[in-house]
């Protein structure tokens, strides 16, 4: 099955020679092979993604306004990835916030994360991206969740390379205003509404392998136990 080769098939449609088509097919299957192993993390999300989960060694962006539950969704996905990451560690990057808001560990436990296999980083603002890069590059990490307000496009692609090297998943929690930015993430989810405990989130997939966008809103419940 050829997915994500829309542009190359589009250009080659002009030439209807059989050889070209065979080439395209080969390229398509090569792309398929490039995809790493897939890790299931949240049933409602997994069933919508090809392969049944999030790709290992990739970036995932969860975007949303404050208090809309984007961080909670990321933590819930991280719990699923951590549980399947065997002896690898989960890392949470919580840059120091000038407003005095900091990540609250009991909520990590409530999201299903195992605190004994988790490291919490509190970098100052400018240190956040280099240290996230370092974390993703390590093969000791199953998943890294990071709040990343600002992310230049080059940094985004660098992080993607880092994740590819380390084999873990980078979950970036970003403001909703970042939806128009260039990003290296293979899966981008915009949380439109939600946040209240026990309520499912309304999530708009901005980019997902095998999903045509714009897609109808997904309902994901980050409060259901793992």
């Amino acid at each position: 099955m050829i997915v994500g080769t829309g542009s190359s098939t589009g250009t080659s449609k002009k030439k209807v020679e059989r050889q070209d088509l065979a080439q395209v097919l080969r390229r398509g299957s090569a792309l398929e092979r490039e995809q790493g192993p897939v890790v299931p993390c949240l049933p409602a999300l997994d069933e919508r993604l090809p392969g049944g989960g999030v790709e290992a060694g990739s970036l995932v962006e969860v975007l949303g306004e404050q208090a809309v539950g984007a961080l909670r969704l990321a933590l819930r996905l991280a719990a699923g990835l951590q549980a399947r990451g065997r002896d690898r560690t989960a890392v949470i990057v919580d840059p120091l916030d000038p407003g005095g808001l900091s990540l609250y560990p009991p909520a990590l436990a409530q999201a299903g994360l195992d605190l004994t296999r988790l490291v919490l980083l509190r970098p100052r603002g400018p240190d956040a991206l280099p240290c996230l890069d370092e974390v993703l590059r390590s093969s000791a990490v199953s998943v890294a969740v990071a709040r990343v307000p600002l992310l230049p496009a080059t940094a985004s692609h660098r992080l993607r390379q880092a994740a590819l090297q380390g084999g873990g998943v980078g979950l970036l929690v970003r403001p909703a205003a970042a939806r128009g930015e260039v990003s290296g993430a293979g899966l981008r989810l915009l949380v439109r509404e939600g946040g209240a405990p026990g309520r499912p989130l309304a999530v708009e997939p901005l980019r997902a392998r095998g999903v045509a966008v714009p897609a109808p809103t997904w309902r994901l419940d980050p409060w259901r136990a793992a």
Binding site: L101, L115, L120, A140
Partner: protein, 593 residues
């Protein structure tokens, strides 16, 4: 009859059977200096002290005429400060083979040596460096050869000359300032090292691998082994059980740790071998040469108990490397330091490998030109043994170091080690091998992150059974060992926000009824707010869930009495607020981000 008497004190009466491997290190001072400064290898080098030549110096001169010792542990007082810092003639304490080949001898004045050989490299002799090197080798021997290791010829063991840093040294023999040597208990090593020639070969090869030339001898007593090692005809002598008397016979008396005046007296008497010394009437020895001489002879021959005294091994595993160039100035180039760091890490890793242990805590010191050294201590989350991993852990830190002041030397110390998970486990259990690799990877990652952020920013968190939200967890540096077994506490039952305000912020709420529809009123005492004002936004509350009453902490003075509510807006965005039941007023405490 003297001969008969000496026979009666032969090893047949020896109370305790020992086999001692002595490893004399005649070039220790020079080789230790070159190990820290590899650019000195192959060049004529002398180490000088500013001490006055004393009685011991005279003895050193006599022994050095044969070229058998380099005088590496001279009896002079410990030099302090730079050459010339003290008034007194600078004298050569140790000379390298290249310098000796040109006629430079230990005991010469520095000026004389420079006249003989103008392109001589002159350095200050620091006896404490020799001691540190010898103890480091003792630690190596204890791991690689035999657990019972003693040392001989520690300069610091001389009374009043104990340098800082080698406290706790148990000298094998106080006052016996011969060439520095290791003494290894060689009983029962056959299963590990094979026969005695193999043991000798391995020991010398191991020392050569560390950059130290050695002379080895195996005998029944420590003194006989030492004598054969330092003065024997070959650098590897084995005197079989009971054969050491015959082996010692042709050696000069100075091979034994006798007092200088005794040696002078013996040479006046024409006694130039131990065999002749033993022919002297035994009863006449104490009045003429002192009781001590007789004891020494008996100890060497095994007539008197002389058990190997194990040395207290140093806790630190330390390697130092100079980064100065030809001119003696330090370097300010990161690439030079990275190169030195790699070399240091490889040395440390090789020594850790012998011990099958990994580094648990380490310290990197950057010595700088006329400035305070930079020290950086680091704890690792798991024992790390690979050179590559050590470099990776430390390189980040090096990159962030301000190099405006040139660095003259790097010193890497392993301050704590832990047993390593043996990689052989992989043979039995593929997973166990993978696990060991990941724990080392994690230790490496955490070390690097600490280098970037500092230990207070790299944390592990635990939940605490406390109802007060701000006290429901603790955080500790990830590198610190856990205070006990993990006690998993259940997370609190009520919903908790993903982000919490360090200080709850007073907020304006509107609790007038009728404003917002479908507000679920659960609490009898206070209606939940109907609107919430955050910054400039006024958010109508669509749903309020609560209250969750938290009333605790009266025992430690930080009492709280609060009613917590989850307030959700029309689009389900949610905040965690409470009403202070004592003082009144509403506060924002968290965000369901």
């Amino acid at each position: 009859m003297s001969r008969r008497r000496s026979r009666t004190s032969s090893p047949s009466r020896a109370p305790a059977r020992q086999r001692i491997l002595a490893l004399a290190l005649p070039e220790l001072s020079i080789e230790a200096a070159r190990r820290a400064a590899p650019r000195l290898v192959g060049r004529p080098l002398v180490l000088v002290t500013s001490g006055k030549p004393g009685a011991r110096r005279a003895r050193r001169k006599t022994s050095s005429t044969t070229g058998s010792t380099s005088g590496s542990s001279s009896g002079s007082t410990a030099a302090s400060g730079k050459p010339g810092a003290r008034t007194g003639t600078l004298r050569v304490a140790a000379a390298s083979v290249e310098a000796r080949a040109q006629g430079v001898r230990p005991g010469m004045t520095c000026a004389h040596a420079l006249a003989v050989l103008p392109d001589l490299v002159v350095r200050e002799h620091r006896p404490e460096d020799d001691d540190a090197a010898l103890l480091g080798l003792a630690r190596w021997a204890a791991a690689a050869l035999s657990p019972r290791v003693g040392v001989s010829g520690v300069v610091g063991s001389e009374p009043g000359a104990s340098p800082p840093g080698v406290t706790g040294v148990a000298p094998h023999r106080a006052g016996a300032a011969g060439a520095p040597a290791l003494l290894v208990d060689a009983v029962g090593l056959e299963p590990v090292h094979g026969d005695e020639p193999t043991l000798l070969r391995r020991a010398r090869a191991g020392l050569a691998g560390l950059g130290f030339s050695s002379r080895a001898a195996l005998a029944d007593t420590p003194l006989a082994a030492l004598a054969l090692a330092s003065e024997g005809s070959r650098p590897d002598v084995i005197a079989g059980p009971g054969e050491h008397l015959a082996a010692l016979g042709p050696l000069p008396p100075r091979a034994l740790p006798l007092r200088d005046d005794v040696l002078v007296a013996l040479s006046r008497l024409g006694v130039d071998t131990i065999e002749r010394l033993l022919r002297l009437p035994r009863a006449g020895l104490p009045p003429r040469l002192g009781e001590e001489t007789l004891h020494t002879l008996d100890r060497a021959l095994g007539a008197r108990d002389d058990l190997l005294q194990p040395v207290v091994l140093p806790d630190l595993l330390r390697e130092r490397l100079e980064t100065t160039g030809e001119t003696g100035a330090g370097t300010d180039r990161l690439v030079d330091l990275a190169f030195a760091l790699e070399a240091l890490a490889e040395r440390v890793a090789a020594r850790l490998d012998v011990e099958t242990r990994g580094a648990r805590a380490l310290e990197l010191v950057l010595e700088r030109d006329d400035a305070r050294p930079v020290r950086w201590a680091l704890r690792l989350a798991a024992p790390v043994a690979g050179a590559h991993t050590l470099v990776r852990v430390l390189h980040r830190r090096l990159e962030r170091q301000d190099l405006s002041i040139p660095v003259t030397a790097l010193e890497l110390s392993i301050t704590e080690t832990a047993p390593l998970v043996l990689r052989q486990a992989e043979l039995f259990d593929q997973d166990a091998g993978a696990r060991a690799a990941t724990s080392e990877d994690l230790a490496c990652l955490l070390g690097r992150l600490e280098g970037m952020l500092g230990p207070r920013q790299v944390l592990r968190v635990d939940l605490v059974a406390d109802h007060r939200p701000e006290r429901a967890h603790t955080a500790r540096p990830a590198s610190a060992p856990p205070s006990g077994p993990p006690r998993p506490h259940a997370p609190p039952p009520g919903p908790r926000p993903t982000r919490l305000l360090e200080r709850p912020a007073p907020i304006h709420v509107c609790t007038a009824t009728g404003g917002a529809p479908a507000v679920q009123v659960v609490d009898d005492h206070h209606d939940p707010p109907t609107t919430l004002r955050l910054g400039g936004d006024v958010i109508p509350v669509a749903r309020a869930t609560g209250p969750e009453r938290i009333e605790t902490g009266f025992w430690d003075g930080a009492e709280v009495r609060r009613d917590y509510w989850v307030l959700a807006g029309p689009d389900d965005r949610a905040w965690w607020v409470y009403r202070d039941l004592d003082r009144g007023g509403w506060f924002l405490h968290g965000v369901f981000d």
